[in-house]
Symmetry: C2
Subunit: 253 residues, 2 copies
């Protein structure tokens, strides 16, 4: 029986998941999909995700792959998984790919979006999908800081404490390259930060956004922000921004 | 102690409510707000809503009023209620109004919005806030039908069965006036129907939308739609569209 390599593109509402990565007792996206795949393939299936999203973080197009000898068509996997999975995970696309495709290792770039509101009171229908931030008054100052982030930097200052596991296996340390960062107004008091890079450290986007909020609060200057970035010291950066505002938007191969 | 009349503008996520109207055993928006008002005012408070939304229907700006002798400022009510209420109800505005203001009786017009998607697969982060409809391919045909709805009509064909209670107290029967109906594309396969009228029968918007879906499915023609409207017979119209797509958007006084 020939071994096949199947690529999934999936979207999920992270609100009720303890993140992507399987855990023995918590509800996770990887855990749910692996469970349904095992039912369909009649045996254990290891699903490789392009990255890990944390609890509460959403995905519009996560990519994952798995190997199987099961004779189920791509359309069969798509329809089968969507009928077995709960409504907060949807399989958008299924393709059979070359044996050497690996969702994480083959990824060339990822794009995240971070949605936030500076309103006094947030609409309840948005509360799970945008962060409500207080005191952020200077969006222009936040935009002025963004070019500092673009390029190749050691992002230790924005890396989750105690997370040096996967990030260090390839010898890159905390050095990552951001290719584009922009901050646009969507509505009255609603904004979206878009950040595209070749790789991200754990909680890097949320730690950058949290520090940008301090710029927007006029607590720290552009010069302060640059010093924080250069310092390679997590203690200097701002708080981690709330998970609910973060969406994994796209992965390029 | 002078009797005051307090007007609230409130937004809610209807996903986890059995609608607006108080019920002995179910979780309702009116029930939740009345409970918190009773705590603040130290005695029972009757809250009058501008209308009733059904289970699962959302509101961006519902209006309600209540009478009290409590000496709590408008800002006090706003802050107090928002700290006592769960996150799926937010009080956007509190004003003291004239004694003769009544949220339902004084209302001049209401606007609803209905969001739907014709995508093959819906993003999970939208599943509670737009309806996913199958087979709807002809948006242009739906738009062509809308002018038939504008004006003064007997909307019996679109009235929920067995709902002739409040609608009939003022002698209007099922006659209502729609002032504007439009259907716009928001994204790739995402649409919003906006409907503004002086009054609505129970489930009228969702029954109109459900029948419009049949137009979009090319099951019924413009002429058929007109016959359904004229017939004053609920049995001829389409299925009630899902609650999750419906938002009470605005009430004019």
């Amino acid at each position: 029986m020939a071994m096949r390599n199947i690529k999934l593109v999936l979207a999920y509402d992270g609100s009720h998941f303890s993140g992507w990565q399987s855990q023995p007792t918590a509800r996770t996206v990887q855990g749910e999909v692996e469970e349904k795949l095992a039912m369909m393939c009649q045996g254990e299936v290891a699903l490789h995700g392009a990255g890990r999203t944390d609890a509460g973080v959403h995905a519009l197009a996560m990519v994952a792959n798995f190997n199987t000898t099961a004779k189920i068509s791509c359309l069969g996997f798509k329809k089968g998984l969507n009928s077995l999975l709960s409504a907060d995970i949807r399989i958008l696309k299924v393709d059979e790919v070359a044996a050497d495709f690996h969702a994480r290792i083959s990824a060339k770039a990822k794009t995240y979006r971070y949605f936030f509101s500076t309103a006094e009171i947030q609409l309840p229908t948005l509360r799970l999908y945008e962060a409500l931030v207080s005191g952020v008054v200077d969006i222009k100052a936040m935009q002025d800081v963004l070019p500092l982030l673009v390029g190749k930097h050691d992002f230790s200052s924005f890396e989750a404490v105690g997370s040096r596991d996967l990030s260090y296996v390839d010898g890159r340390g905390a050095v990552r390259t951001l290719e584009a960062v922009s901050l646009k107004q969507l509505g009255d008091e609603a904004y979206c930060l878009t950040i595209r890079g070749t790789g991200f450290l754990r909680k890097m986007v949320r730690n950058i956004v949290g520090t940008l909020f301090d710029v927007g609060r006029q607590r720290i200057s552009k010069d302060d922000f640059n010093k924080i970035l250069q310092a390679q010291d997590r203690n200097l950066a701002g708080a981690t921004a709330p998970a609910c505002g973060l969406f994994l938007d796209n992965i390029e191969y």
